[in-house]
């Protein structure tokens, strides 16, 4: 038996924030009203039904190109297992069942995520499910193991819907540079954006941001309740911000990186993309913890099982780092920044200006450290043991060179070559060591303001709202990354937690978000402030058209959804 309290927790995911989709009764709209197995239209939604609706929504929004692989059969199997647990535990009352086989396994619901559909960025290994990193190099790679964070979700009974699209090997800030093509931001098809004068839905669709753009699009388009991304320089927060989601980059080491195909080992963390701060706290509670397979994990701090509803921010000191008032910051984002600072002050928090003097050098520092670690990490793809193997057979070195030549796109290739340049014996001190020293200065900046008593920093997440795809591709990947990651990567340098919260829609009808940065291991405090803001900001729900297929026709692209062989 499950006690009422347990049951409540079990149902928590997706109920926070009250940001359901408005409108009537099409499947898509209904999906987000029933954002969890909760009373919906007088009944309850079973895990199977929830899973089916998510899968339908994924198919309907296939033109967004959010998914690389949809694991439909496995998802339905997991959902029916969750359903059996619900019935055994009598946690769900009468809901129509499609399954007659009710024998094994007996048991009760496993926790708050049991039966909840989620998606995973395609750079996390998943056993016997293709893991591509959106690269030719790993097409057809079926890992023999599952990443720790994914396994933890599966162990909780969460239902894996599919693997999401990204920039090749997570190198990018637009989700435009993978072999499966660019991801489209669901807000491009929202009533809020499309019903403005002069918007042409064929050509004016906007990017999701990246590199976890597929994960962000999956959650924003209501195809999943939770998605995992990865965050090395802002890859979770950037698309989260542009897609109007709550996106958390946890403290470095709080979540295991085992099974996350590495980009920048000293900065990578798994990221969480959800629709409310409560959901983020629930997911974080499940995912955190020491992992014997990742020696860089740290013991998690004691944390409440969920965030309180009544949050007091009176004793919170909020810092506004003046250096984040950067060139190119849009007037509307600046305005939101001021608005939220006011809101916090009126709510009783003390808001003060602080200085992080080395902020402007951070993006340069990141550029050097990232390329250096990339050069080292990508050397594993030699074609011998797994992944793409060239036909060239003249010599081992020729095989290596031809494999890399055929397997990597220009973005990856250029980062590897730049990294090799910075790591040359003659350049090692001048660039790599220098960047590591600047990294310390950046980390010390943060340490200083937190030592002075500031609890949380409030900054913009991106310079502005999402850019149209046709504008975005006018600049090369490195330039774009330097622009898009400017506010997000300093946090990775210092290993701190940061969460982005959507605050309002811009005059174009697209989300504007702000970032909260906290002390190391104070992720829950950060989410508490995020929830407090969420309760007051009343960020509008996305209004996707009733007939999404019309959007698809107008988008002029066939849905490209592949189904796993499982």
């Amino acid at each position: 038996m499950v006690s009422p309290g347990q049951r409540q927790r079990h149902l928590d995911l997706g109920t926070g924030g009250g940001r359901g989709c408005e409108g009537a009764s099409s499947g898509a709209v209904c999906l987000c009203l029933c954002r969890c197995p909760r009373p919906c239209g007088g009944g309850r939604v079973s895990p199977t039904e929830l899973c089916t609706r998510c899968l339908e929504q994924v198919k309907r929004t296939g033109f967004l190109n959010a998914f690389v692989t949809v694991t439909e059969e496995q998802a339905l199997r997991q959902a029916s297992e969750a359903e059996r647990r619900f019935l055994e535990g009598r946690s769900l009352t009468a809901s129509p069942l499609t399954h007659r086989d009710r024998s094994p396994p007996p048991g009760k619901p496993r926790g708050p995520l049991d039966g909840i559909p989620f998606s995973v960025k395609d750079n996390f290994c998943t056993e016997n499910i293709e893991t591509t990193c959106a690269s030719h190099m790993l097409k057809g790679y079926f890992p023999p193991y599952t990443a720790t964070v994914v396994q933890k979700l599966l162990d909780q009974g969460a239902v894996l819907i599919g693997k999401t699209n990204l920039d090749e090997f997570a190198m990018g800030a637009g989700s435009t540079d993978g072999v499966f093509g660019p991801v489209r931001n669901p807000w491009s098809y929202s009533a809020q954006y499309r019903e403005r004068p002069g918007v042409d839905p064929r050509s004016d669709w906007v990017i999701t941001g990246g590199s976890s753009g597929g994960s962000a699009a999956a959650v924003a388009s209501l195809g999943s309740f939770l998605a995992l991304g990865s965050d090395s320089g802002g890859s979770t927060r950037n698309p989260g911000a542009l897609c109007g989601l709550v996106a958390l980059k946890p403290t470095y080491g709080l979540l295991s990186r085992h099974g996350l195909i590495p980009l920048v080992n000293s900065m990578d963390v798994p990221g969480i993309l959800v629709r409310s701060a409560d959901d983020a706290a629930t997911a974080l509670g499940v995912l955190r913890g020491l992992d014997v397979r990742d020696s860089t994990t740290i013991p998690p701090p004691a944390a409440p099982p969920h965030l309180p509803d009544d949050i007091d921010i009176a004793r919170i000191r909020v810092g506004i780092p003046k250096e984040y008032h950067a060139p190119g910051l849009s007037a509307e984002t600046l305005c939101q920044w001021g608005r939220v600072a006011d809101l916090l002050e009126r709510g009783g928090a003390s808001v003060e200006q602080v200085s992080l003097p080395h902020t402007q050098h951070s993006i340069v520092c990141y550029h050097v450290l990232c390329t250096a670690e990339v050069a080292s990490n990508m050397a594993r793809f030699d074609g011998l043991q797994y992944g793409h193997r060239s036909e060239v057979n003249d010599s081992t070195e020729a095989l290596y060179a031809a494999t890399c030549h055929e397997g990597f796109n220009d973005v990856v290739r250029r980062r590897i070559l730049a990294g090799n340049y910075f790591l040359l014996k003659r350049n090692y001190e001048r660039y790599f060591m220098k960047a590591q020293k600047v990294r310390r200065l950046i980390a010390q900046d943060f340490a200083r303001v937190f030592r002075d008593g500031v609890d949380v920093l409030l900054t913009p997440t991106t310079l502005g709202d999402a850019v149209r795809y046709c504008d975005f591709i006018q600049e090369d990947n490195r330039t774009r990354s330097a622009q898009e990651d400017v506010f997000t990567q300093p946090v990775n340098m210092a290993g701190l937690p940061a969460v982005t919260v959507p605050t309002a829609l811009s005059s174009r009808g697209l989300p504007i978000s702000l970032q909260l940065i906290g002390r190391a291991s104070h992720d829950w405090q950060l989410l508490g402030v995020a929830k407090w803001l969420e309760q007051r900001l009343e960020f509008p729900a996305i209004q996707l058209p009733q007939d999404v297929s019309q959007a698809e026709r107008e988008a002029g692209v066939p849905g490209r959804v592949r189904t796993s062989v499982l």
Partner: protein, 190 residues
Amino acid sequence: MKERQLRYRSCLIKSCSAVCACELYGFACLQFYVYMLTFLYSRGCGGAVGWSAVLLSPVGLGFESRLGCLATDWRPVLGPTKVPPDLVDKLERLALLDFRNQDGVDCLEKAIRFADQLHVVNTNGVEPMDSVLEDRALFLREDHVEEGDCAEALLRLSKNTLEGYFVAPPGNIPLPEREDRAALLKHSEF
């Protein structure tokens, strides 16, 4: 409320320009070339000289201009960087990866110029930082095997194996010279 917002904004802008002034002063004390660089930056579009120079300029705040503004306009720190052909060759051999075309080399030159901005930061007496977990003892597991017997599963991932071994082409043969190398590689413009 409107007033409060304005106050915030102007206080942010004011403090930024104060910082900028300090930095300009500091830079002036450095060597001449760095000073020249600073001058170039302040005439340009951002980069190393504090945010406010751009912020206060008429192009700084415009919504349209943000796309082209930050860091797209990197000026050389120590004169233009040229990557000579022998270095291109060396990097291709080390990385076992080719530049593909002149654009690839140009891109490296730009990346180096971007990285050169690091040298305006004074790091005297600062220790390099490898990891944010440097000040704590990390968990180490016992030194005994806990899993294994997965040779078959791993070999299955390879495209070419023989009797339990990965098969590689002949070793100890250096990559061919540059001109012959292009023939090996599809779509190489060199």
